[in-house]
């Protein structure tokens, strides 16, 4: 029983990271109908930034610096991607474009950092383990859960309670109407795209001590984030949160309960959810029903 409680905890840690990564993907899709396949590459940029800045040392200042640099670089990348994908109206073209961009970014990273697997040490002050339910548990993962909770509350307040948030939600619901009210939706779109990408890059930094940095990690993360977004409902903050927590638990608790079927769990869960609710669990409210 205790074993399963530890798994639940672990699922929350993974869920927190997934939420940070999936949020931008979901909002961008909800607003612009753009499936940003470069989202995983942006995550990987964050992971390599923390590798570069904390090489050998696990100091807290270096780690905090990595978070800030990743947020900035991620936002710039997001802005560029937003500009690129706004230049072409077709969905398949946008998917092709962002995938092309992600290949270029990932190859550049592997040219700079090599193809080796890099690992990241957690800051020395939080690198140890504490006893949870009588088992050793890494302190860092507890911090990640804390970060996830803070992020969830922060984003909820921002998106659901602030003026800027209502603008964002309105743009998701009916971009044309918002535009007709004299608001520059283009700026909102680029802003959300950049913020979402920045968050993904920060996710890459924070996931560093858990998942490290290696070629190919971008695809795995992108796939998980896509599953989260689709399960939660496209364009919805609450959906992304629910999806992330759910997938985190399916990965951790599900694997603990059904280790023989571990490889089928994620897609099985997704298939099940989509069969029952094709639009996802908590889809964004839309002005015109699809």
């Amino acid at each position: 029983m205790v074993t399963y409680l530890v798994s639940v905890l672990n699922g929350l840690a993974m869920g927190s990271l997934l939420f940070a990564i999936a949020l931008g993907l979901s909002l961008v899709f909800g607003m612009m109908d753009v499936l940003n396949l470069a989202h995983g590459a942006v995550y990987l940029v964050g992971a390599y930034i923390v590798v570069a800045l904390t090489a050998g040392e696990g100091g807290l200042p270096a780690f905090v610096l990595a978070v800030l640099v990743a947020a900035a670089v991620g936002a710039v990348l997001g802005g560029v991607l937003a500009g690129l994908s706004r230049a072409t109206p077709h969905h398949l073209d946008q998917a092709l474009l962002t995938l092309g961009a992600s290949l270029v970014v990932a190859e550049t990273l592997s040219a700079v950092f090599g193809n080796e697997v890099h690992s990241v040490a957690a800051p020395a002050s939080v690198a140890g383990s504490v006893s949870v339910f009588g088992q050793a548990y890494p302190v860092y993962r507890l911090l990640v859960i804390g970060f996830g909770a803070v992020l969830a509350v922060g984003v909820y307040v921002l998106v659901e309670r602030s003026r800027l948030g209502s603008l964002i939600r309105a743009t998701v619901a009916d971009r044309g109407m918002v535009s007709a009210l004299g608001i520059n939706t283009g700026r909102v779109l680029v802003g959300v795209f950049a913020a979402g990408a920045g968050l993904a890059a920060v996710g890459g930094v924070l996931a560093g001590p858990i998942l490290g940095a290696a070629p190919g990690l971008d695809e795995k993360v992108l796939l998980l984030a896509l599953v989260v977004v689709v399960i939660g409902g496209l364009g919805s903050v609450r959906g992304a949160l629910l999806g992330a927590v759910l997938i985190g638990q399916v990965q951790a608790l599900g694997t603990a309960l059904l280790p023989e079927y571990a490889s089928f769990l994620i897609f099985g869960a997704m298939g099940l959810v989509l069969l029952v609710r094709p639009a996802g669990l908590l889809p964004a409210r839309k002005a015109v029903p699809a």
Binding site: L84, L92, D93, E107, L223, G268, M270
Partner: protein, 348 residues
């Protein structure tokens, strides 16, 4: 929400709009198709082993790409699951080759049946959805089938299924030379291409395009889009399965990688690069993608993906309607130019 990945008017449709009458169109197509076919058929007479086997792989892959185009380009359903049916066909053909007969025709039919049956069994999950949800459901199907192939000892699990003897035709001797295998693959690929072209031009094909462009209206007119979607999904599965059998006939080896995400993604990208909805555009896209991946990577120190990425970005900006759009634009321009000249000539 606009969740459907509609492709607006496809490149093929626009090409047709450029032209005026049906017989002329057919004559023009024949004039392009015949030399292309003759050249394709003549390739083994002049080319070495490696170029021919590269072309064989491209043809088999192009059949898979056709099946993706049928779903994505014609019906508007973006899919990442066709590699599963391609793999089902390839594994079935290899098993038939190892245990039953080396007859390539039997293997191809077995591959077709396997693709059809697998698609019929799994398709009902996916066809209820559209757009990105359809994409993700087909991805889930593809990954699940891949996982089965990767862990099932009866088909060699991760090591793949090896030991398939060379194919033979109509009771003849085993065909070990690349050129003969190529001719067989070319013949089947051309038949499949023609069959798909017929379907696309039939009333059923119009229904499919109707689903892509405006499904509610189609439903209002009394059509049953759900049934048509399931039908095209099964058909695409059969096409992909045939492609898989051709792949196996050439490689004589099948491994889980043949139905991995990468194959499905490259197939979808070939369709987008080629111009979704056109039939020959995606085939050219398939050739481009495979050539870049297999031939360029070693010469530039393993950075093939970088070139592939740049190609993708370039295609989006330089060829907004894919490779098919390129020639459609060219012919349109030519026609306009010729017409202008006519007018000048007529002015005395």
């Amino acid at each position: 929400m606009k969740a459907t990945y509609e492709t607006a008017t496809s490149a093929a449709d626009r090409t047709e709009a450029v032209d005026d009458s049906r017989p002329r169109r057919i004559a023009r197509k024949a004039l392009v198709a015949v030399p292309v076919l003759v050249l394709l058929a003549a390739a083994p007479l002049v080319l070495g082993v490696y170029p021919v086997s590269t072309m064989t792989r491209i043809l088999a892959f192009a059949v898979l790409v056709l099946s993706v185009d049928l779903l994505t380009g014609v019906t508007g359903l973006p899919t990442l699951g066709q590699a599963a049916y391609f793999g089902a066909g390839a594994y079935t053909a290899a098993l038939v080759g190892i245990h039953l007969t080396s007859d390539a025709a039997v293997q191809a039919l077995a591959g077709l049946a396997a693709g059809l049956i697998t698609a019929a069994l799994t398709g009902w999950v996916a066809v209820r959805a559209r757009g990105i949800v359809f994409l993700m459901l087909t991805l889930a199907i593809g990954e699940s089938v891949h996982q089965v192939a990767d862990t099932w000892p009866a088909v060699g699990a991760g090591n793949g299924l090896a030991g398939m003897p060379p194919i033979s035709l109509f009771g003849g001797p085993p065909l070990t030379a690349a050129g003969f295998v190529y001719w067989w693959v070319l013949a089947v690929a051309v038949i499949v291409f023609a069959a798909v072209a017929l379907v696309v031009r039939s009333p059923y094909g119009r229904t499919l395009r109707g689903i892509r462009d405006n499904e509610p209206r189609l439903r209002a007119l009394g059509y049953r889009p759900a049934l048509a979607r399931y039908g095209v999904f099964c058909l695409a599965g059969a096409v992909a399965g045939t492609g898989g059998a051709l792949w196996a006939a050439h490689a004589r080896f099948v491994s889980p990688g043949d139905l991995a995400f990468e194959v499905a993604a490259l197939a979808l990208l070939s369709v987008v690069i080629g111009g979704a909805g056109s039939l020959w555009g995606p085939c050219l896209g398939a050739a481009l993608v495979l050539l870049v991946r297999d031939n360029l990577s070693a010469s530039i120190g393993g950075h093939g993906p970088l070139v592939l990425g740049l190609v993708f970005v370039a295609v989006v900006f330089l060829l907004p309607r894919g490779l098919a759009g390129l020639t459609a634009g060219l012919t349109a321009g030519l026609t306009a130019g010729l017409r202008r000249r006519h007018r000048k000539e007529r002015i005395p």
